[in-house]
Amino acid sequence: MTIRKPVLLAVFLIIVIGFFAVYGIEAFRLTNPKETRITIVLKTNHVHSEFWQTVSTGVQAAAKEFGVIIDIKGPLSEMDSDEQIRMIDEAIAQKPDAFILAAADYSKFAPSAEKIRESGAKLILIDSPIPINWADSFLATDHVEAGKKAGISLAGHGNGESFKVVAIGDRNGTAAEEEREAGFRQVLSDLPEVEYVGVYYFEGTEDTAYERVKKLLTLYPDIQGIIALNEKATLGAAKAIKEKKWAQKIKIIGFDSSIYVIKLLEEGIIHATVVQKPFNMGYLSIETAVKALNGVKVNPRVDLGSNVITSDNMYTKENQELLFPLVEK
């Protein structure tokens, strides 16, 4: 007997073990697919914040596509960084696989980020940076680039004659506004015919912006271009120009959009507005997180891009999506 009992037994054992191994693995995979959970902390989850709601739509679209479980959080106010920190602490306890964070404050989030790192979760920053260098990726609009686009849109209209340009910004404005200003200043400094007067600050509301622009118009009646660094500034400036019926004389380039901005664009009061792509921000943040979780190397800095919207191009397919994102289709 050259094939001995132990050999026979071993063969049988191997087959049986193989049987159960395959069965077990498959059964496990079929019943227990690895669930990826991602927590998203937005600057605000307020339903009236069109921008963040659109980010949220993008997040949901990606979550559906990639089959991840998401938890979207955000305080009611865009400025409530303490609430965001509290939300991160709360979420860490549930051990999500990744965090997507849109920090409301530049400096306060270092300890929270450290906690996320300790929990082993991936960290994707969106919209606003925080002072850490190990986040897996940072997805944001390149505001300097957006500012340059605004500058080009303003200057491209020029007919070679010199013209005067002012910028108006929020006194307590975000880093984004500074970057926009830097961007278009860079473009304007290359154009000798443009005289850049400087940035004038208002107190954060549409009304104060309006008052500020009105004053500026009396101060510099020969102004031909206004760069409004945010939506409030855009609306305030537009109101002042509309009142003076100087729309033909003064071009307003704004940032961000709202239904009011759209109407003013249609009316021709605002020449152009530079918009971000919040849907892409939400979608790509999840995509990046999923890639990072799957061990794919991700780009540490993603520019989401921006579009210059004018009355001529506002109803193109892409721009319609950007301007009217939340209407249920």
């Binding site: 063969v11 049987f19 979608y283 301007l323 289709k329």
Partner: protein, 590 residues
């Protein structure tokens, strides 16, 4: 290298039938199970795939029917409005309506539109733009967006261009009403004059996307599969990832779909093998179903899993069966082999216990017969050897038979006392010759010549002892003198003749010995004319084996001769008072 090959080769050299059979079976089973599982897996996978393709086609057809009926429905609503007398009149160039009369017209038309709108939740708005500058909508008071350039909008331009045919736009934001920006699909149609020739305005129905979305999004095409619709210019009417496509995050094979007629095609552009199934509607939309082939067999994993599991199970069973069968086949052989080994060691009591009727059973029976035969032969040999030893011993005893010696010596003494010198000399020399003949070498056989010398001397001595009472004649064919015969076969018979025949007779008697060739045999006949023997006596003589210490029994002689062959031996013929004749048949040996 060489060694390695040898080792590898040795793997397939099996030392037992069982391993050869089981390995051969296992290979065969493994092979056939693998082949059948793979084939049937692919067959069933194909079948499932075909079914799913068919199924998808039907789904798309269903979607097509639903959407067509929906759009047709809308067109009918349009017809309802367009054929309305008020509408026709109000927008006709020829119809003159005073400024004051316009309000009631507008009100009636508006009421009509409103009643349609109420019955249909999916209609966002109904409007008519007359080329004569008149405008009516479903609302009493409508402020149009002064900045919306209506004439430049695609739904307006296309309807005008098509002249009477209904036009369906892709989803867009409708901005013609002030402060309203809604995503709609616009169904527009040019209003014709009564003669049906000249256009008088554009009729617009804006549809919420909900109905189309609902029709399409409810379709289940697996996890990744989906349905999308494009219009004839390739604009997306509906796509589950419309936002992603419009935002340039995703692409769709719109060009390919646009150029394709109804039917389906396969692609793996942009990740994943997919089947696009296209159906064209009569108004130019294309409804496209996209299914991931990997998902068509939604339970491909389960199918594969169950195939693997069943094959493994079948394999395990089959392998065990093969071991079992090979064991069944080889077990009796192995058993036989074991028995053979025992036989080799000398155990002849072994019997194989195989009772099957097949070849192996026959082999077993043959083995049993063979072993039985060997055992018999062995026993015979043992008996023969034993007998030989005994008879040799007896022979040795007889060679120096003390009684015979005493008697002879007594006779010599007796004759010497009587001063019968010649007789003493004769008897002594005969005795000496007798012993010489007995000690003639230490062989079992002697030439006939020596045996005759021996018997002659013996008879001489006896004759001297019994004086005239005994006579003898020896008549042997000289041609047989050189044949070899067993030692001392005549003496016991002659002795028997003297003691039982002649001694008891009153008169003298004669012992006659003749020897001749008879074919292949040598035949000696010892006859006497003594008193003979009755059958009882004869039996006694034949039984008289080694009990007598007077010499070797007649039966001993017989048995010794029988060792040479069954056909040889002694034959007795005796007649009471007449005498006895013993025939000795011996083979010819040189």
């Amino acid at each position: 290298m060489r060694q390695g090959r040898n080792v590898g080769f040795d793997l397939f050299k099996f030392k037992s039938i069982q391993s050869s059979i089981s390995v051969a079976f296992s290979c065969l089973i493994l092979f056939s199970i693998a082949i059948t599982s793979v084939i049937s897996y692919f067959l069933s996978a194909n079948a499932v795939e075909e079914n799913s393709e068919h199924y998808i086609k039907e789904i798309i057809q269903q979607v097509n029917v639903n959407i067509q009926s929906y759009i047709t429905n809308m067109e009918h609503i349009g017809m309802l409005a367009l054929t309305n007398k008020d509408v026709k009149y109000y927008f006709s160039d020829t119809g003159f309506i005073s400024e004051a009369a316009r309000r009631p017209y507008e009100k009636r038309i508006s009421d009509l539109f409103q009643s349609i709108l109420i019955s249909r939740k999916d209609i966002a708005s109904i409007m008519v733009f007359g080329y004569n500058g008149r405008f009516v909508s479903d609302r009493r008071i409508t402020s149009l967006n002064p900045n919306a350039r209506i004439e430049e909008q695609p739904w307006y331009k296309n309807a005008k261009k098509e002249g009477g045919k209904s036009i369906i736009s892709s989803p867009h934001v409708q901005n013609i009403i002030q402060n309203e920006y809604r995503w709609v699909v616009s169904l527009s149609q040019e209003l014709k004059s009564l003669d049906g020739m000249t256009g008088e305005g554009i009729f617009l129905v804006d549809l919420n996307l909900s109905v189309i979305n609902e029709i399409c999004s409810r379709i289940n095409m697996g996890n990744k599969g989906y349905v999308f619709i494009i219009d004839k210019d390739g604009n997306i009417v509906y796509h589950p990832q419309q936002k992603l496509i419009n935002s340039n995050l995703k692409t769709e094979l719109i060009d390919k779909v646009k150029n394709e007629t109804s039917g389906s095609f396969m692609t793996d552009e942009g990740g994943g093998k997919r089947i696009y199934t296209i159906q064209e509607t009569h108004f130019g939309w294309r409804i496209v179903g996209v299914a991931h082939t990997g998902e068509l067999i939604s339970n491909r994993y389960q199918i594969r899993l169950s195939y693997i599991l069943w094959s493994l199970l079948a394999l395990a069973i089959a392998l065990h069966l093969s071991f079992f069968i090979s064991r069944r086949l080889s077990q009796p052989i192995k058993l036989l082999q074991g028995k053979m080994k025992q036989v080799e060691k000398g155990d002849f009591d072994i019997r194989s216990e195989i009772d099957s009727q097949n070849e192996i059973g026959q082999l077993g029976r043959a083995f049993n017969i063979m072993v039985g035969r060997i055992k018999d032969l062995m026993n015979q040999i043992i008996q023969n050897e034993e007998f030989k030893r005994k008879s040799e011993w007896q022979l040795l005893q007889s060679q120096i038979n003390p009684h015979f010696l005493y008697n002879t010596l007594d006779s010599i003494i007796w004759m010497a006392e009587r001063k019968k010198h010649e007789e003493v000399v004769l008897m002594t020399s005969s005795l000496a010759k007798l012993f010489r003949a007995i000690i003639y070498k230490n062989n079992e056989t002697v030439p006939v010549r020596v045996e005759l010398e021996h018997i002659t001397n013996y008879l001489l001595i006896q004759k001297m002892r019994y004086k005239d009472k005994l006579d003898f004649q020896i008549d042997v064919d000289p041609s047989i003198l050189d044949y070899q015969i067993p030692k001392i076969i005549l003496q016991p018979i002659v002795e028997n003749a003297i003691y039982h025949g002649i001694k008891k007779k009153l008169e003298s008697g004669t012992v006659k010995i003749t020897g001749m060739e008879q074919g292949e045999n040598i035949v000696f006949v010892v006859s006497d004319d003594g008193i003979g023997m009755d059958s009882e006596k004869l039996r006694q003589v034949l039984m008289l084996t080694h009990t007598s210490n007077k010499g070797i029994g007649v039966s001993n002689v017989n048995e010794r001769i029988k060792l040479l062959g069954r056909e040889y031996g002694l034959t007795f013929k005796s007649e009471q008072w007449e005498g006895t004749e013993v025939t000795i048949v011996l083979p010819k040996f040189i």
